[in-house]
Amino acid sequence: MYTAILLGVFHGINPAMGWLFAVFLAIYRKDRRELFRALVPITVGHAVSVALIVAIVAAARSTLPVLPIRYGAAAVLLLFGVYRLLRWYRHIAWASVNLSRRELAVWSFLGATSHGSGLMLAPLVLDLPGGQNAIAVVLVHSAAMLLTMAGAAVLVHDRFSLARMQKLWVNFDLIWALSLVAAGGLSLLAALSQTHGMSGMHGMHGG
């Protein structure tokens, strides 16, 4: 669960995931409440995207042996991570101030999906003891993300000038791509150790 929270914080702090858009809308409409009005649909869109991937992984896990799913998740994460590493600057294109809340949720869903947000949680879901917890993972993750986004948005809106924000803006897209690769690597290690563990057991049986 801590990992789900940490990933929620991590996703929340990425400006491309939504808080920057919320700050912008508040500045544009000269209304601080816009921060929170925007963050809710953004969180919903993100949560739906993550839940979709988590559901697929959880379903696969309940029907298939865990080891091939581990390898599969590792391969997808590594491949997607390398792709993002090479094309970290790609984003979905136009979105405007005229977005309705539903469109804002769709925007967030597309952003989260194209960034592989849910994928990052796949290894975590595979390590869960029961299917029930998968829903908890999504909820905890989303709550952590919402709180982080709200914190970042309020901080930047109230305390930072845009000029200061520009100086502190780290290349989150690159960090993100590296995280995908790292999650893939960890998943692969887990799969390998599990394979070794099994072959070790086979060896013992043979002796």
């Binding site: 400006p15 491309a16 920057l20 858009f21 700050v23 912008f24 500045i27 544009y28 600057y89 984003h91 979905i92 294109a93 136009w94 979105a95 405007s96 101030v97 005229n98 925007w107 845009l162 000029a163 520009q166 100086k167 502190l168 803006w169 780290v170 290349n171 897209d173 690159l174």
Partner: protein, 461 residues
């Protein structure tokens, strides 16, 4: 070309921030005959102020490139919150050849005074991937680099349109329009970035302008007289606005820099009934776009004997407004009258009621006003660029090689001239700033760190 911490300091969240940033120290000028890019020192503190401090000659090729307009790979739109690309850098100039359909990608960072071509998009590749030819205006946008084109691939006809280049690899990505509707002619384009609106203007088909102005086509009103509006998200044509076919050649588009505003200015070269130039405002009312003529500049009568052959039948010099510019505070609009040799400045605080605040004479078909330094000026004020702070205006004097020869048969020695703009209106030519490019002609100017026609801002104020 990627930064890890902090964004490029020349990306400005708002027009206000761009005005307050440090002023430009270098200007890049497109040269024609022969094709090249000149680097001019515009830092008054520098010992080489007002001199050419660098020159990039384009590689010799069978046909002329005719460098014309050009722009940056990335700009302030990278800070737009819906699709931030904060770690791009304003580093490469995207320099199309209007005649050759070749595009050069030029690095300004390795050594800002010693430009280097890092990539060339050959005409065949451009046409194959986009279906267009004669690339013209460059704008750095939220999803890539947008380029307008005047002709169809491998043809002297239309349709012209817009295509895109990939942000990092500069690979041509194909055409922008999903549905072009009634749009056929191309020229300039820009957008209301927060409102998902792209606006395009019309010059003519290459057959009517490439080998000189086709006067018969002009008299027959075959040049463009419309604006087109596209939805930027669906890339579909949503509306055309016709100025009326007496108005020929709707060229430069200058939308308000304030992203909350939904209006802009378009310059019209001539009216076939009286040779006047005009400037119109487009604006949105009740969900649809409308236009209104707000400035008209009359032709000046002249004796046929004093006129070049192309103008003799008309007995007048048309103003030929061929470039306009809008200061970043949306307060002053400038218009180049390339025929009569004048630069006009208007206060457009109320865009529907412009006030003429200055007229400066330079060159001109009849007046031939010299520079205050005594230098002869061939041609007249043409491409103009306003510094971000709005205090300086740079102008060059060539329009388009084959048209130059028709209107100024005695030749146009390329020049870059600087004017000082007074904060509350008024213009003075800087007598100490006259950059000569010899026999080469000069066209568009770009300023270090962006200028008043390069950047789109998402944050208001």
């Amino acid at each position: 070309m990627t930064k890890f911490l902090g964004t490029d300091p020349t990306f400005y969240p708002s027009a206000q921030a761009a005005m307050e940033a440090p002023p430009e120290r270098l200007a890049y000028v497109a040269l024609v005959k022969p094709d090249g890019l000149a680097v001019v020192d515009v830092d008054p503190e520098s010992p080489s102020y007002s001199r050419v401090v660098g020159h990039l000659a384009m590689p010799a090729s069978a046909e002329e490139d005719e460098l014309h307009h050009f722009g940056w790979n990335a700009c302030s739109s990278a800070l737009c919150p819906m699709a931030p690309h904060p770690h791009l850098e304003r580093r490469y100039l995207i320099v199309p050849g209007l005649r050759s359909s070749r595009i050069y990608i030029v690095d300004t960072k390795a050594d800002p005074r010693n430009l280097k071509i890092v990539k060339t998009i050959e005409p065949e590749e451009l046409m194959r991937r986009t279906g267009y030819s004669r690339p013209h205006t460059i704008h750095c946008g939220p999803a890539g680099i947008y380029v307008s084109a005047l002709g169809a691939a491998g043809s002297d006809e239309g349709p012209g349109g817009i295509f895109m280049l990939e942000h990092e690899t500069f690979q041509p990505l194909g055409r922008f329009e999903v549905d072009r509707g009634s749009q056929y002619l191309g020229y300039d384009f820009w957008w209301h970035i927060l409102h998902d609106v792209v606006v395009t203007s019309e010059w003519g088909i290459p057959r009517h302008f490439e080998n000189g102005l086709d006067v018969n086509a002009l008299v027959a009103k075959q040049f463009g007289h419309k604006l087109h509006f596209f939805d930027a998200r669906s890339r579909k044509h949503i509306q055309e606005v016709d100025l009326g076919d007496d108005y020929q050649m709707t060229l430069e588009l200058r939308p308000a820099h304030d992203p909350t505003k939904l209006y802009g200015f378009v310059g019209v070269v001539t009216n076939v009934t009286n040779l006047a130039s005009s400037i119109w405002v487009w604006y949105r009312e009740n969900g649809s776009f409308k236009v209104k003529k707000v400035i008209e500049i009359a032709a000046q009568p002249a004796a046929a004997a004093d006129l070049p052959a192309i103008l003799q039948p008309f007995g007048a010099v048309p103003p030929l407004v061929t470039d306009i510019g809008l200061s970043l505070d949306d307060r002053f609009l400038y218009a180049s009258c390339w025929g009569t040799g004048e630069l006009h400045q208007y206060d457009v605080s109320d865009p529907f009621a412009p006030k003429l605040t200055a007229v400066v004479q330079l060159g001109g078909v009849i007046s031939r006003t010299p520079h205050p330094s005594g230098e002869r000026i061939g041609g007249g004020p043409q491409m103009l660029e306003i510094s971000r702070d709005g205090r300086r205006v740079y102008v060059t004097n060539s329009l388009y090689s084959s048209w130059d020869d028709q209107f100024y048969p005695e030749g146009i020695p390329g020049a870059l001239i600087k004017l000082d703009a007074h904060p509350n209106g008024g213009l003075t030519i800087d007598p100490r700033f006259h950059v000569s490019f010899g026999d080469a002609r000069s066209h568009q100017v770009r300023l270090e760190g962006g200028d008043s026609s390069t950047d789109s801002f998402c944050f208001p104020g």
